[in-house]
């Protein structure tokens, strides 16, 4: 256990370092001079040089990287010149809203995806399966932003049931989380279906059937627990998907979260903010995967050792 834990932490740590290197490289490669952004086009060369020096941009690349790493370690994500605020401040302001949206999107995925997976597995190769599986693959193929606009047009604009955008009320959350969740639900459906079918073909399930247990009972007593475990693991990977989906959903619904912040920063090429959002979401993914792995290990030590 201890050895596994240490190795897993080491692995996650290496990935985190990798993430910091990649974000640093992308930020470093930004065309245009960050000093100019600060001092403006009209500043004299002496002023430019002096600011460059105080910003540490005249030092070798690796020194800059280590000071970047050092700042990260101290929770300093840089300064947004566009917003004239520390990035940490900007992000912490909006983090809660995004977390709520991502969580409710995830809930939608689970609520739709897992029952759909169970149904398609139980009725495998029957008409119910064909219809639901077709719906699921259409769901995967739906463009999030189109779906979002469709919701807004039909439900908010034409029917006037729910608000068009914004945040603050649970009503504001319904359409964005549906948009986010419907597209992702199909992944859970597939995972649950595949693993349930595998479980069904196991001898102990056949034995249960042969012993006269009813179909539904067998499904839930034996199948569910084993069939749903892979779906739980996927939740870790899913964070990556949700964080990406959030950018579009928040933009479409004008929802004030990190995704919207990222989009605004991109429009103004506010590099520190862009990189901070990328970095933070990647860290979220690593941490989630780590937690899932550890939980997994605690549930069933056999699985993770290999």
């Amino acid at each position: 256990m201890a050895a596994y834990l240490v190795r897993r932490i080491l692995g996650a740590f290496i990935v985190l370092i990798g993430i910091s290197i990649i974000t640093f490289i992308i930020a470093y490669a930004v065309p245009g001079d960050p000093v100019r952004t600060v001092v403006g086009e009209k500043a004299s060369p002496e002023v430019v040089e002096q600011v460059r020096h105080t910003m540490g941009l005249d030092r070798p690349v690796y020194v800059q990287y280590f000071s970047y790493l050092n700042r990260l370690a101290h929770g300093d994500l840089g300064f947004s010149y566009y917003n004239n605020q520390p990035v940490t401040h900007l992000i912490s302001e909006r983090f809660g809203a995004t977390a709520v949206l991502a969580l409710s999107g995830w809930a939608v995925e689970i609520i739709i995806g897992i029952p759909l997976g169970l149904l398609t597995a139980v009725y495998n190769r029957k008409i119910t399966d064909y219809i639901l599986s077709s719906l699921a693959i259409i769901g995967i193929s739906l463009p999030t932003f189109w779906l979002g606009m469709w919701f807004i047009y039909n439900i908010s604009y034409k029917m006037g049931i729910l608000p068009i955008g914004g945040s603050g009320d649970i009503k504001n959350l319904i359409l964005p989380s549906l948009t986010l969740g419907i597209v992702g639900a199909a992944y859970y459906q597939r995972l649950v279906k595949t693993s349930m079918l595998e479980v069904f073909s196991q001898d102990y399930i056949r034995t249960a059937h042969a012993n006269g247990a009813s179909s539904l009972r067998v499904t839930f007593r034996h199948g569910f627990r084993n069939g749903v475990i892979p779906a739980v693991t996927y939740a870790g990977m899913d964070i990556a998907f949700l964080m990406g989906g959030v950018v579009i959903t928040e933009t479409v619904f004008n929802y004030p979260g990190i995704g919207q912040l990222a989009m605004q920063s991109i429009q103004h090429l506010d590099v520190p903010v862009i990189m901070a959002t990328v970095l933070l979401s990647a860290i979220c993914v690593v941490v989630m995967n780590f937690i899932v792995d550890i939980l997994y290990f605690l549930i069933d030590p056999r699985i993770s050792i290999s």
Binding site: I22, I26, V30, L191, A240, I266, S281
Partner: protein, 303 residues
């Protein structure tokens, strides 16, 4: 010894009608895996539309027609001149969607080819050579997979400045990690098979073993992944263009058409019907084709 000769002749008589057999086989595959048929047809129509775009389009996709705008300055809905309506500055929606097919396929296919090339190369090297090479490549792959892909691509495109080339380069260069993982897994399986051992015993070099013995046997999952990747990348391009950092107007792309529609669709909903439908058609087509191919070629892949 006798029995084996009898078997051999039997097999050869059966196979004399190879031509007939292979045609029957195609029908059989399509009947057993209807997803390949449906997806394949959907993709095929896209290819036709992209190739014959100038013949199909009724208007010039970037010309702003004064007749497309009403007297009060709003875009005109579907009418006899603009069958799917005009956009906010009087361009023909139908023709733009037709030309947008070209952009989508171009980005989708080229980006996927880049990912495929990087992914297969790293996957093979990692799986075949193992040891520290494998460890380094897999750590990089893990790192790449940790980034939320859309956000990652957005960041890179923003930095590179949006253009068709930069969009597919960014998507392609960042999107190889899943492919690497799958190819590596396949190589690990194939590597231990006895025909690879046999090639080694015959004195074949690593190069020969990789290209002649291993690669042909990882083609199936690569085709499946590649097909699915094209669909994903078409969607990604549309998302980037929708967010305003992909294909820039006046070049027509389904994504930037939807962006244009986002501001005015309450009064002009036709702006989002056709481009959205085209996008759904494309991603659905590639997803169906990819899933069908997976069921047919390799039931074990896929997660």
């Amino acid at each position: 010894m006798d029995t084996s000769q009898i078997q051999t002749t039997n097999v050869s008589t059966v196979n004399n009608r190879t031509g007939l057999k292979s045609r029957n086989k195609v029908f059989k595959v399509l009947r057993t895996y209807p997803m390949i048929l449906v997806g394949g047809l959907m993709v095929f129509t896209l290819l036709l539309i992209a190739i014959f775009a100038p013949l199909i389009a009724t208007h010039n996709p970037i010309t702003q027609y004064p007749t497309g705008i009403s007297d009060i300055g709003a875009p005109k809905g579907p009418n006899s001149e603009f069958i799917f309506g005009a956009d906010s500055i009087g361009r023909d929606v139908f023709s733009r969607v037709i030309y947008g097919t070209r952009v989508s396929l171009e980005v989708g296919i080229f980006a996927s080819l880049i990912s495929l090339f990087i992914g297969v190369t790293l996957g093979v090297v990692s799986g075949y050579f193992g040891k520290w090479v494998d460890m380094v490549i897999m750590r990089i792959t893990d790192t790449m997979l940790a980034f939320p892909f859309l956000l990652f691509v957005i960041a890179l495109v923003a930095v590179l400045k949006p253009s068709i080339t930069n969009v597919f380069i960014a998507i392609g260069v960042l999107g190889w990690a899943m492919m690497t993982r799958i190819v590596r897994g396949e190589v690990l399986k194939v590597k231990e098979l006895e025909y690879v051992q046999s090639a080694k015993a015959l004195g074949a070099s690593n190069f020969v073993i990789i290209f002649k013995e291993i690669l042909p046997n990882v083609v199936a999952p690569v085709i499946v992944m590649g097909t699915l990747l094209v669909g994903q990348n078409i969607m990604l391009e549309a998302a980037l263009s929708f967010l305003g950092i992909g294909i820039q107007p006046p070049t027509a792309s389904w994504g930037n058409m939807l962006q244009d529609g986002m501001n005015t669709y309450q009064i002009a909903p036709w702006l989002i019907y056709l481009p959205g439908f085209a996008l759904l058609w494309a991603t659905l087509g590639f997803n169906l084709l990819g899933d069908g191919l997976r069921d047919w070629l390799d039931p074990t892949v896929g997660n």
